[in-house]
């Protein structure tokens, strides 16, 4: 928890530094965006209509950051302008699967030609689709072009159920496949002998760590086994996705609110449906306190049921999003501080700061996976705890603290 506070302090500090550096530079010299990618992670430059896809000024950088933090329908590593002035994208497109008014429609995202402002219309099965800010819209009947209002909201198109294999879904699939391969290998290794060999030797202590440091102490010796499948899966899923987010491929899966909401809902459902009588009793009719207190505590406890998983989803989302934003901001220092520090100076400062914050992000990647799993098991532990009424109140005090820990 201390580490996290420290991290937050650092983030604030770094943010202020970045903004100072950004304001100091307003020039418009261009540098091939390809350069940026050589320089560090998360710099998956993509073209956005104007400016030839170059990200150089503060609004451009802000837009780019926002774009990266959102999910994307294609997997692009970087883009550049060739000698004929044409924009080239390096990467590959991903399948778009949407449920529209005409039923299920699938096509490759390449049909949008990397357009993200709704100006390219794809017609499939009689339905017209446009992509605006990484979201797929279906045009209303009769409309031929997207009309945008002042806030860039489409007025004649509506969102559709989008089951596309987006970059985030791809990331999840990769993480899932990695987990199956790694831990399936570990499981198979036990058939040969009791001691794992090779890389499995690294994985085994991690599994034991989750079991002995997270599940057992929080849920209890008798009941922890039932929840190990969920806890282990979630722990390694979040951790691997966090780490994938630190690679230059620029995944931002755990920084997606939909993903963290889903993870938290799983915890909430498990907590709610495995809870014993004691748990509900402590929510609706707290034992050991006078009746007026019971009535006052009831709504608070009911609210607590929901705030616990809510804190989980916001914490993971905010930490990862902030981490990505800071890394991108620091990389942008190389461009924004070029005038004040010079080309080499800008790149040097940017490299050092990015390296430094990336190391912290490496720690955060683990820490957030740990905290999510830890608190999930704590909530589960509270729900299945058997207590006699002597220390029943203790447990609730614990519960109240939990909300304020991280």
């Amino acid at each position: 928890m201390i580490a996290q506070q420290l991290r937050k302090c650092l983030v604030t500090l770094v943010f202020s530094l970045v903004s100072i550096a950004m304001f100091s530079s307003n020039e418009n010299t261009t540098l091939p965006a390809q350069h940026a990618n050589e320089h560090g992670q998360h710099n998956t430059t993509e073209s956005h209509s104007s400016g030839g896809g170059l990200i150089d000024t503060k609004p451009e950088i802000d837009a780019y950051k926002k774009h990266h933090l959102a999910d994307s329908h294609d997997f692009s590593l970087f883009s550049y302008t060739d000698s004929h002035g044409k924009r080239k994208h390096v990467g590959f497109s991903l399948p778009v699967i949407v449920w529209s008014s005409k039923g299920l429609v699938t096509f490759m995202s390449s049909e949008f030609h990397h357009n993200d402002d709704g100006s390219v219309i794809v017609t499939k099965n009689g339905a017209k689709f446009a992509k605006i800010h990484s979201k797929i819209y279906e045009l209303d009947a009769g409309a031929t072009a997207v009309k945008l209002d002042n806030d860039h909201h489409a007025t004649n198109a509506h969102k559709v159920w989008d089951f596309s294999i987006t970059k985030s879904v791809l990331g999840m699939l990769i993480a899932g496949l990695l987990m199956l391969l790694l831990f399936g290998g570990l499981a198979k290794g036990y058939k040969k002998g009791p001691i794992p060999t090779g890389f499995s030797r690294v994985l085994e202590p991690l599994v034991i760590y989750v079991r002995d440091e997270i599940a057992r102490p929080n849920i209890g010796e008798k009941k922890y086994r039932k929840y190990m499948g969920f806890l282990l899966t979630v722990f390694f899923f979040i951790w691997i996705l966090n780490l994938l987010g630190l690679t230059p491929f620029g995944f931002n899966v755990t920084g997606n609110i939909a993903v963290t909401v889903c993870l938290a809902i799983f915890t909430f459902l498990i907590t709610t449906f495995t809870a014993n009588k004691d748990y509900w009793k402590h929510i609706f009719w707290m034992p050991g306190v006078p009746v007026p207190m019971k009535i006052v505590l009831m709504p608070i406890e009911i609210l607590g049921m929901f705030t616990k998983p809510f804190s989980l989803l916001i914490r993971l989302f905010a930490n990862i999003t902030a981490g990505h934003a800071v890394v991108m901001g620091l990389i942008a220092v190389a461009y924004t501080a070029r005038e004040t520090l010079g080309l080499a100076g800008g790149f040097g400062v940017s490299t050092l700061l990015t390296l430094f914050i990336s190391l912290i992000e490496l720690l955060v990647a683990f820490l957030q996976a740990f905290i999510f799993t830890m608190l999930s098991s704590l909530f589960i532990g509270m729900a299945v705890e058997e207590h006699d009424h002597d220390h029943a109140h203790d447990a609730e005090v614990h519960g109240a603290e939990d909300n304020s820990i991280v």
């Binding site: 699939l173 831990f183 499948g229 899966t233 939909a258």
Partner: protein, 165 residues
């Protein structure tokens, strides 16, 4: 940033499906065998430790037994030696007593024999003396008996001299 606007229901559904499938697959193919193997191994280690502890205890018991047996044997040996020593002393004492008794007996017998011999010798001497006396008396008598008076005188004088034992 508008969180609600960023929330993608489609992604949420995909994530839920993927996570659910992943949990099921991981449980079946990874976590169950891994955790079972870990448990088995830990139990095995615990058992081995317990067995070692038991073996140690047994060894200690065995050592204690050995010690006890050794002590018993030593005590028995000491007892036997003591007994033998006592036996020896008592045997010597008995032998001495017996020898004494035998010696006393022999001496007694010898004394008695000597006594008897002495008696016999005295009797024999008496007889011889009597014989010799008779012979002497005969000769004297023969010589003296020529004169009757003399004979009588002699007899009386002889009788005077000889005192019978």
């Amino acid at each position: 940033m508008n969180l609600l606007n960023d929330f993608s229901p489609g992604l949420f559904v995909m994530q839920a499906v993927i996570l659910l499938i992943l949990i099921v697959l991981m449980r079946k193919f990874a976590w169950k065998p891994i955790l079972d193997s870990l448990n088995d191994r830990e139990d095995g280690i615990q058992n081995a430790l317990d067995a070692a502890e038991n073996a140690k205890k047994e060894l200690q018991n065995l050592q204690a037994d050995n010690e006890r047996i050794l002590n018993e044997a030593r005590a028995e040996r000491d007892g036997m030696l003591k007994e033998a020593r006592e036996l020896k002393t008592s045997m010597i004492a008995t032998a001495k007593e017996e020898a004494q008794a035998e010696a006393d007996k022999v001496i007694k017998q010898a004394q008695e024999a000597i006594k008897a011999e002495k008696k016999a010798a005295v009797a024999d001497l008496k007889n011889q003396v009597a014989g010799i006396s008779v012979e002497i008396a005969e000769k004297v008598v023969k010589n003296e008996l020529a004169d009757k008076n003399k004979q009588l005188e002699l007899v009386s004088s002889l009788l005077k001299d000889v005192t019978l034992n």
